[in-house]
């Protein structure tokens, strides 16, 4: 897959896009948030240094989900009243994108789902049940969260969002679902919890003493 | 683990029982002797039984 190369409009550094469908990326050198237009890159904002966090995953970590390999290309850091978590943006080897979340070393992989008739945020309450893909999901937690930072390549523009609501849905198996209300249109992600070992992660961050 | 041991043990018990039946084992105690001379047929009194002199009184209740 060809890797388009461009230059950062702010500082001139080389920008490499690992994923062809990236809409937004962050310049590693000057921390400018850059958006891809048809012609070139446009700076739309600046991201502060990411807060220190404990995720062992980093950009360019590689892994496997099922029989597909993936590489980590970006992330969004979220915070909520009891802490925070990471949503790592991964690119699968068939070009599609998925999200690998890391919440206190609990890992889950989810994919965007094209479901219709998703409920509005105000209509959702804990215990409510939905059926997608012949699976029954129960609302377990509704979390008001805020974004704390972004890094790398993302499939959408994400620089001016502050508060978002997430609805977690669980099942009796490893499957779970998330309703994402960061956009006016609700978005549905279906995924499953995975064990660290199942992902065969390589090129992880190293921790002192480990 | 116990089950495997038991299966082995049971097989041993059953084969012992079968073997015993085949070889004619019995539960009674009997003394074996060798070299009883042929002359005993003519003179049965010359044979000394291990049990000779047994006098058993089983008085009733």
């Amino acid at each position: 897959m060809s890797q388009p190369v461009a230059n950062c409009p702010n500082c001139g550094a080389k920008i490499v896009f690992r994923w062809s469908s990236s809409v937004q990326t962050v310049c590693e050198y000057c921390k400018s948030i850059l958006v891809r237009t048809d012609v070139d890159l446009k700076k739309v904002g600046q991201v502060a240094d990411l807060p220190p966090d404990s995720s062992p995953i980093q950009i360019s970590t590689e892994g496997k989900y099922g029989n597909k390999a993936f590489v980590v290309v970006g992330r969004i850091l979220y915070g909520y009243d009891q802490g925070g978590w990471n949503e790592w943006h991964v690119m699968m080897n068939d070009g599609t994108s998925a999200w690998l979340s890391d919440a206190q070393s609990e890992y889950a992989l989810s994919l965007s789902s094209k479901a219709v008739n998703l409920p509005a945020a105000a209509q959702v309450h804990v215990g409510q049940q939905f059926t997608w893909n012949n699976q029954s999901y129960t609302v377990s937690v509704i979390t008001p969260a805020h974004y704390r930072g972004v890094e790398g390549e993302l499939p959408f523009q994400y620089w001016d969002k502050t508060d978002v609501t997430f609805v977690d849905l669980r099942t009796e198996s490893r499957n779970f679902a998330t309703l994402d209300y960061s956009d006016p249109e609700p978005a549905l992600y279906l995924g499953e919890f995975v064990e660290f070992d199942e992902l065969n992660l390589k090129n992880l961050r190293s921790f002192e003493g480990w | 683990m116990f089950r495997k041991l038991y299966l082995l043990y049971g097989a041993l018990v059953l084969s012992s029982a079968g073997f015993g039946q085949y070889r004619g084992w019995s539960l009674d105690t009997v003394n074996q002797l060798k070299n009883v001379p042929k002359s005993v047929r003519d003179n049965p009194g010359s044979y000394r039984s291990v049990y000779s002199g047994y006098h058993h009184y089983t008085g009733g209740k």
């Binding site: 080389k14 490499v16 404990s54 | 116990f2 018990v13 029982a17 009883v36 049965p44 044979y47 058993h56």
Partner: protein, 441 residues
């Protein structure tokens, strides 16, 4: 695959953070790379906010007793399920049942890649615990988790008495949680309710020696007392299988009996009636029978004696002698029979007949040498001697049956007492068998 230019100023490489307690100044190190929510100062027992760079004080507690020492020192690393974990936190919890306080300990383990696990210890019984990712379905009597059914064992309130180290949640001394345990040995499913939120965890029983090996601890682990709720039973799992095996063996035994019964010739080779005369007893009473032939293979020989004694006895010294080889089997048999009448009614003792089976007699020509004796008060009596060749010996099957039955009964009994011991500690103790009142925890 080229990774592009490495970031110039990404987040710093995570390291353990060294800080000072805001209350007493003692040194505090955070080992969990930002995953701890609270951390305890071991010197002044202040619970601090681990996410706050200034370590705001959340609670101070007085240790009611002297410092409780964790069995595994904080900072020790051990291997569980193939992964190294570092011990970062410890707490002692208690519950009250019937006025008695029971204590147990919980340990927080950390690995930067795998996250947090827990260990619990009570009376020498250990459990390897992790938080459930999928939700169990529970109703009062039982619960279902990942396809397994768990039985309700106990519901109790757990108090946090003492804390040390780092915790991934807001721990406070004195906080009370409602804990419900469901068991499916060797696993235990535990639901902990604190402020309306239920957290489910799944634990697997571990033996003290496994923990000691994992963490390379000196000395010996504390000896386990009693049977723990999810302690695996070495025997229970085998019981059904053994009874099935026993049934199969019993059937096989019956088949064996039938086969050998059909095979046995049960051939009568001698049947004679002789007369015993006291008058002749001064002289030599021994005599020999006619010669008879035992054909076929080595097998049993049954000698039956019958005499119509009544309140007398006769005794026959028998010898079965092989005419050609000189081999002999020597045995004595008594026939006695008594009867009478007393205050309890009529009674009898003994029998008028006797049977003995001689083992492993090779084929050949044989005769019996017989030397009769009798009760001095008996003047004369006829007696019949029967010799039957190749009879089955049913006593052997009886012994085999018992030999097969005994181990199964022993195992069943041990499994039964083990399970009784287990459930005697629960909310559903087994009924007392004896009349003495038992304690139910």
């Amino acid at each position: 695959m080229s990774a592009g230019t490495p970031p110039l100023s990404g987040p710093p490489k995570p390291q353990a953070r060294a800080l000072n307690c805001p209350k007493c100044g003692a040194a505090i190190t955070l080992h969990s790379f930002g995953q701890a929510v609270t951390v305890v100062c071991a010197s002044c027992h202040s619970i601090l906010d681990a996410k706050d760079p200034n370590l705001a004080i959340l609670q101070r507690f007085e240790a009611a007793t002297r410092d409780v020492k964790p069995l595994i020192p904080l900072g020790t690393r051990g291997k569980l399920r193939g992964t190294d974990y570092e011990l970062i936190g410890f707490q002692r919890r208690s519950t009250q049942v019937d006025g008695i306080t029971y204590y147990w300990h919980e340990y927080v383990l950390f690995n930067p890649y795998k996250g947090i696990r827990y260990l619990s210890e009570y009376n020498g019984h250990w459990n390897d615990i992790s938080i459930c990712k999928t939700l169990p379905i529970a109703d009062g009597g039982g619960a279902n988790y990942l396809g397994e059914t768990y039985k309700h064992f106990q519901s109790a309130d757990a108090d946090t008495d003492f804390v040390l180290g780092e915790f991934p949640w807001q721990v406070r001394v004195g906080e009370k949680a409602a804990v419900t345990d469901y068991v499916h040995p060797p696993r235990v499913l535990s639901g902990e309710k604190l402020d309306k939120e239920v957290t489910w965890s799944i634990g697997e029983y571990m033996y003290g020696r496994e923990i000691w090996e994992s963490f390379k601890l000196p000395g010996d682990p504390p000896a386990p007392i009693g049977v723990y709720e999810n302690q695996p039973s070495p025997v229970t799992l085998n019981v059904t299988g053994m009874w099935v095996a026993f049934a199969a063996f019993a059937v096989f035994l019956l088949v064996l009996m039938a086969v050998f019964d059909m095979r046995a010739k049960k051939e009568p080779v001698l049947q004679e009636t002789y007369q015993y005369n006291r008058a002749e007893s001064k002289a030599e009473t021994s005599f020999v029978t006619d010669v008879f032939e035992l054909t076929g293979h080595t097998s049993t020989v049954e000698v039956k004696t019958f005499a119509p004694v009544s309140n007398h006895w006769i005794y026959l010294n028998y010898a079965l002698i092989n005419q050609d080889s000189g081999q002999a089997w020597d045995f004595g048999r008594e026939v006695s029979y008594y009867s009478g009448y007393d205050s309890d009614g009529s009674w009898t003792e003994g029998k008028q007949h006797d049977s003995v089976v001689i083992p492993s007699v090779p084929p050949g020509h044989y005769y019996l040498r017989i030397e009769p004796e009798a009760d001095p008060s008996l003047p004369n009596i006829p007696y019949t001697v029967e010799v039957i060749h190749d009879v089955p010996v049913f006593g052997i099957y009886g012994i085999a049956f018992l030999a097969l039955l005994v181990p199964v009964v022993i195992i069943s009994f041990r499994a039964y007492t083990f399970e009784r011991s287990r459930w005697s500690e629960s909310d559903h103790p087994p009924m007392e068998l004896s009349s003495s009142s038992g304690d139910d925890e």
